[in-house]
């Protein structure tokens, strides 16, 4: 079971980033083994447009099951949905805390994007 959590930091003590498309990194955690790695989102950050679309393809490439972030718009949501990746939004706190909350079933999967699309 793999989670991708957006963050500007690089490890489990880092805080979740509110942005999905232009988050600095994705912390990819296997919650069964607690192995983790940091995947840079630099390609999306440097995108003229469609950062969320690009970011969603990066996490899909990592074969994660769930994405945890602050906000996610409709285009990124569509890509995640197509890749059968579940989404949790409005997340706060550290990566560690979020993993615990996820394991305890305290985080709710969203059925829709929580912010509107943005063009810039």
């Amino acid at each position: 079971m793999k989670l991708a959590i957006t963050s500007d930091g690089i490890d489990l003590d880092a805080i979740v980033s509110s942005r999905f498309g232009r988050a600095k990194n994705f912390i990819i955690v296997n919650i069964d083994t607690m192995d983790f790695k940091c995947v840079e989102n630099i390609q999306s950050i440097n995108s003229v447009s469609g950062a969320g679309i690009q970011a969603a393809q990066i996490v899909a490439n990592e074969k994660v099951d769930v994405v945890i972030t602050g906000n996610c718009g409709p285009k990124a949501f569509k890509v995640l949905e197509s890749a059968n990746i579940k989404l949790i939004v409005n997340a706060g706190g550290s990566i560690k805390e979020l993993i615990e909350k996820y394991k305890n079933g305290e985080l709710k999967i969203t059925e829709m994007p929580n912010v509107k699309g943005h063009w810039i």
Binding site: S47, S49, G50, I53, Q57, A60, K78, S82, A83
Partner: protein, 279 residues
């Protein structure tokens, strides 16, 4: 001669200046490049003599042929193509129609299809020609339609282009390759702020420009102070008059309501010619 009427802020009077300048001069063509909300013809009320459809090309992925190699998604500047492990699809509203995906697809799995994005209308009224670009509702690629409008520029005439507000791609598409830009503003903090953005844009594009201050007797003096400090010529000031608004709301231009305004706009044109001559 190509003169584009632009602004930073919206609602400062671009259409008023474009229409009245066009109606005050001879041998003129008016080109409405504000393709998301073209409104010059509301005042000209021309007879439409020609309509032309505008198309762009959008890719279509042949699902049978796609091998999910991701070449297209790596090359797409706008992240319009999504390629997953066993799925590929287009996010239409992101596509700029550049064609790079279909050109480089090693499997020839992407073909380009024509997509209707707008129309160009040519109208005529008492010797004045008006070209209006209209972007289809829900479409976003305004620059394509603007470029089609500008194909009608006639070098033997005075071409007056009405641009959209702001400093976005649409504005750049309108003002590029023009001889002169009239920036219309109003003496308010918003008018000044957006004027400064427009001035930065024109200076970076190295295009000659001057300012028209509309509703010049309201607000404050900061627009005038700014223009003086930056050595920007103020071509014309138009004081606020309720009757101008009243006629405007009825679709009647200033010069139509009172032909003595023509002198004011002729004078504006003379100033522009002088500034171009001095360069």
């Amino acid at each position: 001669m190509i003169i584009t009427v632009a602004s930073g802020k919206g609602g400062t009077g671009k259409t008023t200046i474009s229409v009245n300048l066009a109606l005050s001069l001879n041998n003129v063509q008016l080109l409405d490049c504000d393709v998301e909300e073209p409104n010059c013809d509301l005042f000209i009320k021309s007879n439409i003599i020609e309509k032309k459809d505008v198309f762009t090309l959008v890719p279509e992925i042949n699902k049978e042929k796609c091998i999910f190699c991701k070449k297209c998604t790596q090359l797409c500047e706008y992240n319009a193509i999504v390629v997953l492990e066993d799925k590929s699809f287009l996010i239409k509203e992101m596509c700029h129609g550049c064609g790079v995906c279909s050109y480089f697809c090693p499997e020839h799995a992407i073909i380009e299809q024509k997509k209707h994005i707008g129309v160009i209308e040519k109208g005529e009224k008492l010797g004045l020609q008006i070209i209006t670009g209209k972007l289809d509702i829900g479409e976003v690629m305004a620059p394509f339609v603007i470029k089609e409008v500008k194909k009608n520029i006639n070098k033997n005439q005075i071409n007056i282009l009405d641009a959209s507000p702001g400093t976005s791609c649409s504005v750049v598409a309108s003002i590029i390759d023009t001889d002169y830009v009239i920036l219309v503003t109003e003496p308010t903090p918003f008018g000044l702020h957006d004027l400064q953005l427009a001035v930065d844009l024109l200076r970076s594009m190295n295009i000659l420009f001057g300012v028209v201050v509309n509703k010049s007797d309201i607000g404050d003096n900061k627009v005038f102070d700014y223009c003086e400090k930056e050595n920007i010529s103020i071509l014309l000031t138009i004081p606020f008059k309720k009757e101008i608004s009243q006629y405007y709301a009825q679709g009647i231009s200033m010069v139509e309501s009172n032909s003595s305004y023509k002198e004011m706009f002729k004078n504006l044109y003379e100033k522009i010619l002088k500034q171009i001559g001095n360069k």
